[in-house]
């Protein structure tokens, strides 16, 4: 019996074969004895199922025993779709993706905050390293400077909260602002979470610190943490307390003026006169001060709503106006003069010379004068008969007033050829050169050219000779009094 015919035998007993199936089956049975025998045996079942009562009885039993819902489900096209292999493959893939998503979600739920904390700790660590490197660089630059700054810093060891804020250099200010902002975020989170994200972040940070293997930086980091925490307390009040914010704004660090430093130090050492001379360079112009003020305001207002920001901006403007209205002597610039004797070299450059040991012709020399403040410069020579003569500069670099004063700008050098002072032997024909520096043109020039005046000025000024010239400073400037410097020729020093 062919297996193909055997497969349709079941339809014979139930009489559900199609005409074609019957024809093929019976034709095959006539030629195949085995198939014929099987069909003959099937006749008993066919006869049994041909009885309607028996057939209905079996059907009832099947429907009673079977799950009608299951039967209906099998007939439903949805479940029929599920029974197809391709459908099962799709369903399996979707189920796998769903499981992966659920697993990922649970992992994110469980470990996401931990991973984020670690990432933030790593970022914070890297930022701290950058900040520490910047601080270390700036500290190295500070150590290179003369000890006068150290002397100035000592009185600031126990400063008032406002004055204790170090004037941030332009290099270190952006990381400090970033660090302060970051610390403000941490402070904002701290009261909410108790032992929470910040504590955990610090724990993670501590775990990461030994891995850095940079002992110097770690030491600096601990110092910086203390500094930053203090800085944070001063600069970033809590978010919910507006009054503290205002206090924090008022406690914003102000750039120290030179007068502040001078008042805090009893007397600068002689080696710091040159620094004092150039300290006026540290004074920011008005526009720069405004920009820094804006940066401070933005630093303070970071994360605040625009309405609160506007209110505090207005308050800060009022505060600035109030501060400007208050007269402050410390705002007066500290006047200073640098002068040197230069000799023109063959390649066109100027070479400073030591006038004490100079034996050549003075006619080839020039007197270079530089003021650290903008003002009117008078360079005169004493003709020793009560007459004074204004020296002419080598090149007219600025406007000159009617009385012969040269309107100089800060740190703008003015050179005077000494050939106008020498005799035919190349030696100076006058005993000294007097320099007057005033913020305004001097109406009565003769009143400031007496010997007594010069002595009075000499008692108060700071003087420092150097290889590159002489620096003379007026530590207590008075706006109504011009700054006088006498340069004795022949000795070229006081």
């Amino acid at each position: 019996m062919s297996k193909s015919w055997e497969q349709i035998l079941g339809g014979y007993a139930t009489n559900t074969l199609t005409e074609e199936e019957k024809r093929q089956l019976f034709a095959a049975a006539l030629n195949d004895q085995t198939l014929f025998d099987v069909l003959a045996d099937e006749e008993a079942l066919r006869a049994l199922l041909a009885n309607p009562e028996a057939r209905q009885r079996i059907l009832d039993s099947l429907q009673a025993s079977g799950n009608p819902q299951g039967m209906a489900a099998i007939h439903s096209p949805q479940l029929r779709w599920f029974r197809q292999p391709s459908s099962l493959a799709w369903a399996g893939s979707i189920a796998a993706m769903g499981l992966a998503l659920i697993f990922g979600w649970q992992m994110e739920e469980l470990w996401g905050p931990v991973v984020q904390e670690e990432l933030q700790a790593e970022r914070s660590l890297s930022e701290d390293k950058d900040t520490m490197a910047t601080i270390a660089q700036s500290s190295r630059m500070e150590t290179r400077k003369p000890p006068i700054r150290e002397g100035q810093n000592k009185p600031q060891s126990k400063p008032a909260p406002v004055a204790s804020m170090p004037a941030q250099s332009p290099v270190t200010e952006p990381p400090a602002i970033a660090k302060a902002s970051k610390d403000r975020e941490r402070m904002d989170e701290a009261p909410v979470a108790g032992f929470s994200k910040r504590a955990f972040r610090q724990m993670v940070k501590k775990e990461h610190l030994p891995k850095a293997k940079e002992p110097d930086i770690q030491g600096l980091e601990s110092a910086m943490d203390q500094s930053f925490s203090q800085e944070y307390r001063l600069m970033t009040p809590s978010v919910g307390n507006m009054e503290k914010r205002e206090e924090g704004f008022q406690q914003l660090p102000q750039a120290q003026t030179f007068a502040d430093r001078m008042h805090r130090s009893d007397a600068p050492s002689s080696t710091g006169v040159r620094d004092l001379f150039f300290a006026e360079k540290g004074r920011q112009p008005e526009g720069e001060r405004e920009a820094i003020g804006n940066r401070r305001a933005s630093q303070l207002f970071g994360g605040m709503s625009s309405e609160k920001e506007r209110v505090l901006e207005k308050q800060s403007l009022n505060l600035e106006m109030t501060q400007e209205a208050v007269p402050d002597d410390s705002e007066l610039p500290t006047r200073g003069i640098r002068y040197s004797f230069v000799h023109g070299t063959s390649d066109g450059k100027d070479d400073a010379i030591d006038i004490e040991h100079f034996s050549g012709s003075w006619a080839n020399l020039r007197l270079g004068i530089t003021s650290n403040v903008t003002g009117y410069l008078y360079v005169l020579t004493d003709l020793e008969n009560g007459k004074w003569k204004l020296m002419s500069p080598e090149s007219q670099t600025g406007p000159r007033s009617s009385d012969g004063a040269i309107n100089v700008k800060a740190y703008q050098p003015v050179t005077f050829p000494l050939n106008q002072l020498t005799n035919k032997f190349g030696k100076p024909a006058v005993s000294s050169v007097t320099i007057l520096l005033s913020s305004t043109p001097i109406s009565e020039l003769g009143t400031w050219l007496g010997e007594e005046r010069s002595q009075d000025q000499l008692t108060n000024r700071l003087h420092q000779p150097g290889n590159q010239g002489f620096w003379v400073m007026d530590p207590h400037p008075k706006p109504e009094t011009p700054f006088r410097v006498d340069i004795p020729l022949g000795l070229a020093q006081e």
Binding site: I8, T18, L30, A40, A44, P77
Partner: protein
Amino acid sequence: MGALTREEILCRLRERILAFATSRGVREGAEDLTQDVLMVLHEKYPHVTELTELVPLSFQILRYKMLDRHRKTLRHGEYNQESVDDHMLVDPGDDPAMQAEQNERVTHLIAAIQQLGERCQNLFRLKLEGHTFPEIQKILGERSINTIYTWDSRCRKQLLILMGGVWETLPLKGKGSVPNKETVG
């Protein structure tokens, strides 16, 4: 295979019926049994000429003839030595014994079907509802009808095993499948 004539079909049927009867232990009466079947086909169903009608009809007649032969043998005491007076007269209709036998077979069949799997039960139900294999294929949503054939063949074999290997138990087998002519005779 081309279309067979009625004579050709009957000729082949004779061979198959004779072989079948011989294999079922009819022995000497196999020829007579075959002849009886063919006589019925020739005399009562001369109008049936189609293969799809003639072959199942021959199966049906063959089954009846075999059952009659078994009953006749039983009446003649070939299986059991009994007095003829003890037997009742033959009722031309369905006697209660046959009805009881059929009920018993149905019960047996239901019990066997209940032991089948869900798929086989579903297949059997669909067939009892009159669905052909192509219809069942559509109902079950199978792409190939061979899948339905395979499932049905397996289910049929499983059901046959559960039924004891035969669809019908001959009524005489219960008391004695071995004739006792020698004992009687």
